[in-house]
Symmetry: C2
Subunit: 447 residues, 2 copies
Amino acid sequence: MADEGAEEAERETVEILEQLCRQPSVSVEGRALQETADLVEALLAESGFETRQLRAEAGAPSVWGELRGRSDWTLLLYNHYDVQPADPIELWDSPPFEPTIRDGRLYARGAADNKAQIALRLATIRRLAGDLPVTIRWIIEGEEEMASPNFDALVASHVDLLRADACLWEGDSLLMDGTPELTLGVKGALAVRLDVELLSGDAHSGAAAVVPNSAWRLVELLATLRDPSGRVLLDGYYDSVLEPTPAQRRAVSEGSASVEDELRTAYGVAKFLDGAQGETLRERLSFAPTANIAGIHAGYSGPGIKTITPAQASAWLDFRLVPDQHPDAMLGLLRTHLDRRGFADVRITVVAKAEPAVTPLDDPFAARAIAVAERLAGRPASIVPIAAGTLPVVASLARHVGVPGLAAPDNAVYYGSAAHAPNENIRLADIAPAIRYLVALLDELGS
Amino acid sequence: MADEGAEEAERETVEILEQLCRQPSVSVEGRALQETADLVEALLAESGFETRQLRAEAGAPSVWGELRGRSDWTLLLYNHYDVQPADPIELWDSPPFEPTIRDGRLYARGAADNKAQIALRLATIRRLAGDLPVTIRWIIEGEEEMASPNFDALVASHVDLLRADACLWEGDSLLMDGTPELTLGVKGALAVRLDVELLSGDAHSGAAAVVPNSAWRLVELLATLRDPSGRVLLDGYYDSVLEPTPAQRRAVSEGSASVEDELRTAYGVAKFLDGAQGETLRERLSFAPTANIAGIHAGYSGPGIKTITPAQASAWLDFRLVPDQHPDAMLGLLRTHLDRRGFADVRITVVAKAEPAVTPLDDPFAARAIAVAERLAGRPASIVPIAAGTLPVVASLARHVGVPGLAAPDNAVYYGSAAHAPNENIRLADIAPAIRYLVALLDELGS
């Protein structure tokens, strides 16, 4: 693709991205999902893809597309068109579903996670159309931000449509210093809601000397689950954790150290958990399973105070799992842990589950993707053997389709992208390198 | 007052109550406070009271009224026209600010706490007008549900208007078995909001292995404040607690045991805190200071899950205090407790403060009020030396005006009134005995 074509692809990326970001496709709220699927399907069809909408028994539709290239070698692309909720909405500087460009950035919910990548992959493929080096299959789902509750069933029932030689997941980007990053594995997850309900209704807190308080009980329960250093206290939680291989440890040790500064800057971290820093911090990000409180709600939370003893208290937790922790097994440990400590009455509702999944460091597709990245950047790539995040699709595709996959730097996010947070954004300058990488990788795969 | 007059007063009570309950006078939300004060003032003026609206430097107006009787002996009445918020609004069977009568009950926010008493006191005084045995002064404030932040200043600057021989606070009622209850003291309170803020914005929970979590830190902090038996763990919290007198202990021991069943029924309590029951339960309600979580909020609390590490976490706490725990001293203990345990960064915001205050069991007005109650009921009264609740006005009136006070059974609430909760209500059948008591007490005081 000539420079002119590249510039055209950049412009087209922004146009498509703005279209996508105007859709408030918040999956946990069930908003605009069909409309966004229709838009995505239309965009693929306009670009020459054969398209379909696929559905599991429940849930939002997934968009599938296929565009045949010069060779039968097939690359599967994975993306999602859904986004996180926009709240707390009052912290946004511009409306989350009105994409706004200022200071070289495009602000919108979903811009970084991950509509920019849909846009730049599509714009790139459009520019290559007629001379596409390999065959592309693409699956774009609508429930990733809910941990893809129906995607596994969908993959299982459409294996023929998804078969491919390799898969690019949601992508990585260049790091702050220009080093390309590639991710070869993802953590699993178990997300649950815990409910305590000791009273039939909120009580006047004057009676708090004798009336049991659901919020206190939730606090007591949560305090048994993790220590202040971050270590998870569930009995048996670490028993099934595999030691990282020497190659995985080396990748982390030799990889970019910039994640520490990126996290510090993005979230204003004064001190990391347990004082972690440097290689220790990066090892924990890759290899440490977690227990995270995503939310707590009990009683009154407004101006002033309402002097009540809350009848109900709830916590939303996500456990990030590493090989070979399986979500169902961890759920069993959680139930047993609570029962043993007198919390048998506490209700556990599973909100999401995902297996951890890892592509070996010596996979041939991985080697080619890494080589292209290092050639373009003129420096060693940063390899993440297991990412801190979760992508349930990886486990589903590995199990049902058997396709190896990874995340390569064909994406336009950066340390300040604020995915899942207010003022989510991408830098427009990050689009061009992502397009260049994708073009070079497709060339390499077609050769 | 003849029976006919009593029936008329009952009817008039319901009419006035409906008018009052249509006002959404939620003080923490600043709703309809001036309108409700105007309505209350107009109702008093129509009944022959000389009226004024009194204001401190800030806050909602209080309504003051005076109606001269046959003697100069002056009884001060205290009420409040403000109410608690109506949320969770979805749990109401009828709209909270549309008073609805069904099954002999009147449902509305504020019906029990405490608009019914305003209505029945006013209807009673109207019926006695022209032959009122004593002089009545009445102060009706608008910020009781916020713990009366401006009332102390208002009392201090209007001592002359409030001077009286005795005071009836917000009233008690007959217990389930018909035993009259009188309350001679109230606990104090310190209400605070605690804020933890470790990040500049919510983080993606994929990084939870190293990014600090404000919700976990709040849980760790709260777990240091109270043990599961309800004992408060603040260093020095019990040092200033006075032992109850033998007379106070006797009153609790000989008092009605029904509160246990009332609490069990009202709130569906399966097991009281620390397994308390019987006399132990009643002693704790009267004499034990508390630490209560009124609310917690952190991160996401909605359908599904939002996988974030929350930047901020907040808890709303109220400590109920007994003689001689002073709220400012307890605030100092809380700050020191947190600092000592490494929580110096946690912000404490005082939401409300009230001193505990107690009228001695041998006060002469108390003796007359008890005697009238026992004569009408034909049985011993239940005496509560210190109520579980808080009424800051009591401390203010005791300190600035020097008037002894108590709560007598001239009110129409019951164990199912659900004050501060959805479906707040009174039983219409409870109005008549309250009116009878007030008429008899006024007769006694004028003789």
